[in-house]
């Protein structure tokens, strides 16, 4: 009896040590994330002269002018609008394209299904960084074609086209993620809908897609992040004045031989960062669920 008690006591103290160790590890990682992120916010209210010394020093006061400058001088307000438009359109198009495609790839048997799946999967390996110029030159050619026919340029400097390119580039990953979710849904649902006399289209839109809601939320968040932060395509395909936020931010970055307005640069970073943080906090609960449901089982 006594021995047994001692044993449980031992396991308990080992347990406690183990728990303490886990908490220390968790808290360390959490701190390593919270401090730097908070630091960016704090830096954004510092005056430029405060940036030359210790980067971790507290600000001497609230210097809101950084944000005013960022919106007025650096036109971040207009860029914000462009980013919202491009990201919004991109995600809408992406869902409209990817949901049906993922659905039939996951649940239908038809000729060339395997080939198409491989083709889409291969798309994962294509990197924007090297196809950006060919895309650009292609759009340019189309534009020149239009001009040759007496029209005006249409494809470059067009937020819709940029959004379309974003959506297309996100298709392989999104289709992959969605179809691995669709695969987990039992076939009974479609059978029932079929017996009820629903068309294939109706079955997809009113039975299957609503069931994929958690996955859709995940898709929206993932792609929001990547569209919102993307700058290589945005820079190249929008050479005019309709810049997106990250492109505007690039111009605020330090550059050799130019006096950098560090305050404005960090204010710009916060302006870029804030919407993603807010969206994340809103949907974060759904995020784990979405991936649970999707399983991302490959």
């Amino acid at each position: 009896m006594g021995a047994l008690q001692k044993k449980t006591k031992d396991t308990k103290s080992v347990d406690r040590l183990y728990k303490i160790f886990i908490y220390v590890a968790m808290i360390t990682l959490a701190i390593s994330i919270i401090i730097p992120v908070a630091w960016v916010f704090i830096a954004s209210i510092k005056q430029s002269s405060e940036f030359y010394g210790d980067p971790w020093a507290m600000p001497k006061g609230f210097y809101w002018k950084n944000f005013i400058d960022a919106f007025q001088e650096a036109k971040m307000g207009g860029y914000l609008l462009n980013s919202v438009l491009v990201t919004g359109m991109g995600i809408t198009m992406l869902l409209a394209l990817a949901l049906p495609a993922a659905y039939v790839l996951a649940r239908f048997e038809f000729p060339f299904r395997k080939t198409i799946r491989t083709f889409v999967r291969a798309g994962l390996f294509i990197n924007i960084s090297y196809i950006v110029v060919p895309i650009f030159l292609m759009l340019l050619e189309w534009d020149n074609g239009l001009r040759g026919m007496g029209g005006a340029g249409f494809f470059l400097n067009n937020r819709f086209i940029l959004a379309l390119v974003y959506a297309t580039n996100a298709l392989p990953f999104t289709i992959h993620l969605l179809s691995s979710y669709f695969e987990t849904i039992p076939f009974d649902f479609e059978e029932a809908a079929y017996i009820d006399g629903a068309s294939l289209f109706k079955t997809m839109t009113s039975v299957i897609i609503p069931m994929a809601r958690p996955s859709i939320v995940t898709v929206i968040l993932f792609n929001f992040l990547s569209f919102w932060n993307e700058y290589i395509l945005a820079l190249t395909l929008m050479p005019g004045t309709k810049k997106t936020l990250p492109v505007g931010l690039m111009n605020l970055m330090a550059a050799e031989r130019a006096a950098t307005n560090y305050g404005m640069m960090y204010a710009g970073m916060v302006i870029v960062m804030l919407p993603t943080l807010i969206l994340y906090i809103i949907v974060q609960k759904k995020l784990t669920q979405g991936m649970t449901a999707g399983g991302i089982k490959g």
């Binding site: 294939l200 991936m291 649970t292």
Partner: protein, 298 residues
Amino acid sequence: MKVDRTKQKNIFAAICLAPALILLAVFLLYPTIEVFRMSLYNWGGFSNNKEFVGLSNFKILWDDMKFIEAFQNSILLIVVVTLVTLVLSILFAALLTREKLKGANFFRIIFYIPNILSIVVIAGIFSAIYNPTNGLLNSVFGMLNLESLQRLWLGDQSIVIYSVAGALIWQAIGYYMVMYMSSMASIPESFYEAASLEGAGRITQFFSITLPLVWNNIRTTLTFFIISTINLSFLLIQTMTGGGPDGSTNVFLFYMYNQAYTNSVYGYGMAIGVVVFLFSFLLSAIVNAVTKRDVLQY
């Protein structure tokens, strides 16, 4: 009747897939073919004097020590980032799902935040962390009287690549953790109860239940690790180290960009792009084959 339904289904599948496939062909496949085609040319990027040179760009690549160095750095980053992130994120995911920790939700939310930040913000954060004199890392070592651990994180050529890896790992842990958590959450509790009754400890449970059941999920993420490390290391190095000191953080896409634009040999840059594409494809295929196990279902 049966035939009709199959035909109907095929038509439906075609309609659902067509828009996505057409766009993929236009904005992904065609530009990729262009990249392959341009890699056979000698072209500066502006004028019309393209010169067909066959595979000569690839021959030069073979002897280009700087490319080999970039190749080595990329592989090193892929290996280090994948291994460390994988181990840490599985560990944290297991702890957060299995142990009844206080604030588990809080940790889950916080850990994901780095993944939503723009790479520009991350570069700014890590430049403040790695600063040799008043950076966070050296300051913490100083406070703990561990001066011997202080380093020139971005100046010492033998460790700078690991400093870059550190930033990439920091950025990636939360993302993969949430992925693994979601598949761990779907493992039935009864499995663990049964194992517990048989006297299996936490570690045994982890290796005999958790790991095998999320194995497929891990396999899929390995592909993502390869793709995203290649891509993110480029973006990060571009803003943080500029490839330096003296090319010691040169990676694939950075070198490609450097050659295609700065050195005015666009065709050569595209040849690098082709190699990167084939390499990542091949590596992923190999990893996929090597990690193949009998899928455990539950």
